[in-house]
Amino acid sequence: MRKKKNTMQNVSEQSMNEVAYTCDEAISADEFTWVGQDIEKGNVIVRESVSYFKDALRRLFHDKVALTLMIILGFILFMSILMPIISQYSMSEICDSRNLPPFSDDIKGNFHILGTDNLGRDSWTRLWYGGRISLLIAFVAVGINCVVGIIYGGISGYFGGWIDNIMMRIVEIVSGIPYLLIVILLMTIMKPSISTIIIAYALVGWVGMARLVRGQVMQLKEQEFVISAQTMGASAGRILLRHLVPNTLSVIIVNLTLAIPSAIFTEAYLSFIGLGVPLPQASWGTLANDGIINFRYYPEQLLIPAILISLTMLGFNLLGDKLRDAFDPKLRR
């Protein structure tokens, strides 16, 4: 035993010497001086403390793709706000040249960037007017749906049991009632306007989001971080909003971006049956709807609004992905 220990010691001593030897070769201890201890400096925070939100934004703005998309979306938004104001044509003004192709003059020699529609109205002006309405509806309607859906689905999924049971049966009933019937009844009590569209859409639009959030919450609530939050005495509301919802964000954002085109076309549908924006106003949805009738002869009347919708959607979707990357706590570095 003893002997063994000795040899061990010997070996280690030997190696220690070897190390010391190599160290001596590189840096000698004399080169270091004692500078003392600065207690105050030790307490200074060099890197800014980054809040969750700030961190997300920072990462968003550092992403080139995200930035480009934001510029495109900004451009579309800007044009939608500005063009109707500065355009030389009004949205309903009819000139005598119908269905003009893009970049052409009408009979009176007035130039139309995107030509005219089947009544002889300037397509360019109508396009951006439409953008106003579509974007407004897309944001507001989807925003409302999102908030309602998250709260509803969150509560249903988190509490489970009979609460979930009742809440989900309500969802089934709401989504089971034929939408057209709801709209026709709404028409008897409301005038066509943007707020009417938003109400009509919000009445049933939230169920999809509610279902999705419920599903996610059901899956998440059995996980450790929720259990630990519960043991630490966090309230249900806090667990829901602080722990569960942020963790479902990725799915919420995706669903949100998917809901926007559906809102745009629901608006077109509502306008068609007389609950939407009052004529002769247009939206991207109604422009696309009208365009499909004559697309064989005037494809541009369908393609231009469709492309703008797609471009906006592409922007939102990719931006949604970036947002998700930026906001997702699981991906936070």
């Binding site: 049966r169 089934e172 026709i184 279902r211 599903g215 899956q219 059995e222 085109p261 696309a288």
Partner: protein, 314 residues
């Protein structure tokens, strides 16, 4: 589990009853009547027609009679066509069902595949392409897709070939079913692929995948065995609404391709105020929706054993 399912079915019947009661009230509150037309009808004739279809009785009595008849398998008579609602649905539903299943298969398989590929190749060209396709799929509604497919892939192709490759309309040959199913499934496919990509990314980042990687499992096995199974939850959630939207969304696709399916009745029955048809389609659709939700809930617990169904939170 069995007990749970039985309980849910009981709830489902109750929900259905409530749904039909609400729809009943709403459709009778809608302005107009089933027999209104451009040319005026004498009050006597109208009264006769109301009596013939049992619409002269008080609303609650009509409702009770209707519910009673449901158990006898009678959904009433269409005021527009004068034929039994069950006959009409019996003729048209199988067609819509087949169309729906076809587009569901396209959208589920296509969506999961696209989404998974995009997630694995995140940030690469494949990702961008897959997601652009998906976004366009969501942004362009099915009535446009259907019209474009019909014009370019059916008409123009046929004219080029000099023979009929894709028929323009109908639901008879295998070929006539391809374009409608695709047009109907595209947006759902896009939705699924978007959701799949996101949740797949979540899954790939989770600890158990890292563990699996550390264990030295093959990439393929990790992705298809572990990640996809976990990532599929949100997809399952939207399957309910997607099936529902495919069923009702069939209206435009069926119209463009002139398919004698059930989709049109969801819309025309209300436009025509064909009361029995409205109630019939609503029951049918409602039952479908409820069954789908039930299946989805069951699927939850199968795919993710952590999800408890029966009792919720203890």
């Amino acid at each position: 589990m069995l007990k749970y399912i039985i309980k849910r079915i009981c709830y489902a019947l109750l929900t259905l009853l409530l749904l039909i009661a609400i729809t009943f009230l709403m459709m009778h509150a809608a302005p107009g009547d089933p027999f209104a037309r451009d040319k005026a009808m004498t009050p006597e004739t109208k009264a006769a027609l109301y009596a013939r279809y049992g619409l002269d009785k008080p609303l609650w009595m009509q409702f009770l009679i209707y519910v009673g008849n449901i158990f006898k398998g009678d959904l009433g008579t269409s005021t527009k066509y004068g034929r039994e609602v069950t006959t009409i649905i019996g003729e048209s539903f199988p067609i819509s069902f087949e169309l729906g299943i076809r587009s569901l298969v396209i959208s589920i398989f296509g969506g999961i595949l696209l989404g998974t590929i995009a997630a694995i190749r995140r940030g690469k060209a494949a990702d961008t392409v897959a997601m652009t396709v998906a976004v366009i799929g969501v942004s362009v509604p099915s009535f446009i897709v259907a019209a474009l497919l019909q014009y370019f892939l059916a008409l123009q192709l046929n004219l080029k070939l000099g023979s009929v490759f894709f028929p323009i309309t109908g639901w008879t040959s295998e070929m006539s079913k391809v374009l409608p199913a695709f047009a109907l499934g595209l947006s759902s496919m896009a939705t699924i692929s978007r959701l799949m990509r996101t949740s797949m990314l979540d899954a790939l980042n989770s600890d158990y995948i890292k563990t699996a990687k550390a264990k030295g499992l093959s990439e393929k096995r990790i992705i298809w065995k572990h990640a996809v199974r976990n990532a599929i939850m949100p997809v399952i959630t939207v399957l309910g609404p997607i099936t529902a939207s495919i069923l009702t969304g069939a209206f435009v696709v069926e119209q463009v391709f002139s398919i004698p399916g059930m989709g049109k009745f969801f819309v025309t029955s209300i436009q025509e105020l064909d009361y029995m048809m409205i109630a019939g389609t609503t029951i049918f659709y409602g039952a479908f929706l409820i069954i789908m939700t039930l299946l989805v809930d069951i699927a939850y617990s199968i795919v993710d054993p952590r999800v408890k169904l029966a009792n919720g939170k203890e």
